[in-house]
């Protein structure tokens, strides 16, 4: 029984309560950095790291953190890990940190992290929290991957920097700001459509 529960916790973030598509949180960074796949995955993994570490520490100390000052403490912990990611990327993958720009430090105000830490990690065991973090983080990352795949392919004809489509077939629109909104809107529409169908099926089965 416990095994299924753990798996459920993990899968939750991937699909059922996908932070971007279902809960609609953490949107800011998702649109700005998804102009190409390298940035998209980079951001996703950076955010996942901060999420895992934050949920880990906060869950670990959840009994020690007083209720009244929990928000400032959460902020300190999340900010600390965000800064660590910043420093590590600046030193070892400067290309990524330059591409992510101001959105790297903005991970600290990513609603997903704050939200999960508040609603899950502070109330659950370490193992569950870490699984939740991995699930949510990967759920975030795979959506970013899809958005950046579409935008990079259609906007500049490349995939991970490798030219796939000839330049004349690219639609610059997708690399600019409006493109992000559009792709995300269509993706959300797709999600709504699929989930409605799934709910209808469930309804039929019943």
């Amino acid at each position: 029984m416990e095994r299924t529960n753990r798996l459920a916790v993990f899968l939750n973030g991937l699909v059922k309560e996908n932070p971007l598509l279902i809960l609609s949180i953490g949107l800011c960074s998702s649109l700005a950095v998804t102009t190409n796949v390298f940035n998209g995955i980079g951001m996703g993994l950076a955010m996942t790291f901060v999420l895992i570490m934050s949920e880990l520490i906060i869950s670990l100390f959840r009994k020690q953190i007083p209720e009244d000052i929990r928000l400032p403490i959460f902020i300190i912990i999340i900010a600390a890990f965000t800064t660590i990611v910043q420093l590590l990327l600046n030193a070892y993958i400067p290309a990524l940190s330059e591409a992510l720009g101001v959105f790297l430090p903005l991970i600290v105000v990513n609603c997903i992290i704050m939200g999960r830490v508040e609603s899950y990690a502070s109330k659950n065991t370490v193992l569950d929290s870490v699984l939740d973090a991995i699930g949510m983080g990967l759920g975030y990352t795979w959506v970013l991957f899809i958005i950046s795949l579409v935008r990079e392919l259609l906007g500049s004809g490349t995939f991970f920097g490798i030219h796939v489509l000839p330049e004349t077939y690219t639609i610059g629109f997708f690399s600019r700001a409006p493109g992000g909104f559009f792709v995300f809107g269509l993706l959300t529409a797709l999600t709504v459509g699929i989930s409605k169908k799934a709910a209808a099926k469930k309804g039929d089965a019943k």
């Binding site: 403490i73 300190i76 912990i77 600390a80 660590i84 600046n90 030193a91 070892y92 400067p94």
Partner: protein, 385 residues
């Protein structure tokens, strides 16, 4: 109270531990990050000096000899620890403004040049920094400079090809190169056995100068021993009689020497120029109806073009001319290159002012006007005709 203390303590504990952890990570990553910064800065300089592996900034180099151009930074280029040349960052006016990096080796040969900043006109001067723009020689504008020796000078269309349609930009860049390579060359010659300069320090490019009425008179008088130190003494009422082409006499003044004798007259005239704001000039004439000098009081024409009528090399052309001769481009004066309308308008105003001044001198014992001098001809075709 105890509760608050406990809360504060817990908060502080988390804060301190976090900061400690961050300081730890920072101390590990900071040197790596700094190394990246240095490499990035070096990468920029390596494009103008490919043969060096490290650069060291120096500060005791000679500044530029032109007040409008500044040598912002100077670096020694080193290969394996020995100095093989220098890189200068020079900033100054072109059509608008530019900052360049130029590399110079110990023979005073340019190893490369690059624009750090160029704000000239797109499609014209800006092409100097365009990697897809090719000169007739097949290279980009800035790559032309590779291999040129500073001692041969930097002459537009001789040393290097100007950007088509942007001579002023090209001349500006040449001036920046002259200053940068001279200072770098001298530094290398002085300290690292570099080649000596074959000529003098470059001269500052002429800047236009505007004068007030009094300052103009003082400046003109100071160029003559006989009139040194003299200035305007007594203003004369001027009549509103017809002046050609809507020119207006703004002011007329007598210039007296120490004993009170009237030695010259100054007249300021306003009129049309290339720009719709027009301009004013002043001419000073002696008792022999000779123009002692002319200066520009006001002009707002295009920078580097019409504005250059206010440079000494233009207005000094009118000195020693007779107030009675027609001032013709080509014969009596050379126009500012690219600004013939402005030049001719200014010359016309000088002519009218000089003629009026000669007329004043006539009333005070000066030479009489020769026959026919009142029917003078001006150059420009003005709007209302």
């Amino acid at each position: 109270m105890k509760q608050t203390l406990k809360l504060g303590f817990t908060l502080a504990a988390f804060a301190v531990i976090s900061c400690f952890l961050l300081a730890l990570v920072n101390s590990i990553t900071a040197p790596v990050i700094e190394q990246h910064q240095i490499e990035k800065a070096n990468a920029g300089m390596k494009t103008v000096f490919p043969d060096a592996d490290s650069f060291e900034q120096v500060t005791d180099y000679k500044p530029s000899t032109d007040s409008a151009i500044s040598i912002v930074k100077m670096y020694l280029a080193k290969k394996g620890g020995t100095v093989t040349g220098a890189v200068a960052q020079v900033s100054g006016p072109t059509y608008d403004h530019a900052t360049i990096l130029v590399g110079l080796d110990l023979n005073r040969t340019v190893t490369g040049m690059q624009f750090l900043e160029l704000t000239d006109s797109p499609g014209f001067g800006l092409k100097a920094n365009d990697p897809s723009y090719k000169t007739k020689g097949g290279t980009t504008f800035y790559d032309q400079l590779k291999g040129k020796n500073a001692n041969d000078g930097f002459m537009v269309n001789k040393t290097f090809e100007a950007v088509s349609g942007a001579t002023i930009t090209s001349k500006g860049v040449a001036n920046l190169l002259k200053q940068g390579t001279y200072s770098a060359g001298e530094y290398l010659a002085e300290k690292y056995g570099g080649a000596a300069a074959s000529g003098d320090a470059p001269k500052a490019a002429e800047q236009p100068v505007l004068f007030s009425f009094e300052d103009a008179v003082k400046d003109i008088c100071s160029t003559f021993d006989a009139y040194k130190g003299l200035t305007t003494s007594e203003d004369v009422a001027h009549d509103a009689s017809y002046y050609p082409h809507k020119m207006v006499v703004d002011r007329e003044s007598l210039i007296k020497d120490g004993s009170g004798k009237i030695v010259a007259a100054a007249v300021e005239v306003s009129g049309q120029t290339y720009s719709e704001n027009g301009g004013s000039v002043i001419a000073v004439v002696d008792i022999n109806r000779t123009i002692l000098g002319a200066r520009i009081v006001r002009i707002q024409d295009s920078p580097n073009l019409g504005m250059n009528t206010a440079t000494p090399s233009f207005y000094n052309q009118f000195s020693s001319k007779s107030a009675d001769q027609n001032l013709r481009p080509g014969t009596d004066y050379d126009v500012v290159s690219g600004a013939s309308i402005s030049s001719d308008c200014v010359a016309d105003m000088v002519k009218v002012a000089a003629y009026e001044a000669a007329g004043i001198m006539e009333k005070h014992g000066g030479r009489t006007a020769p026959d026919g001098s009142a029917e003078y001809t001006l150059n420009e075709h003005y709007q209302e005709e």
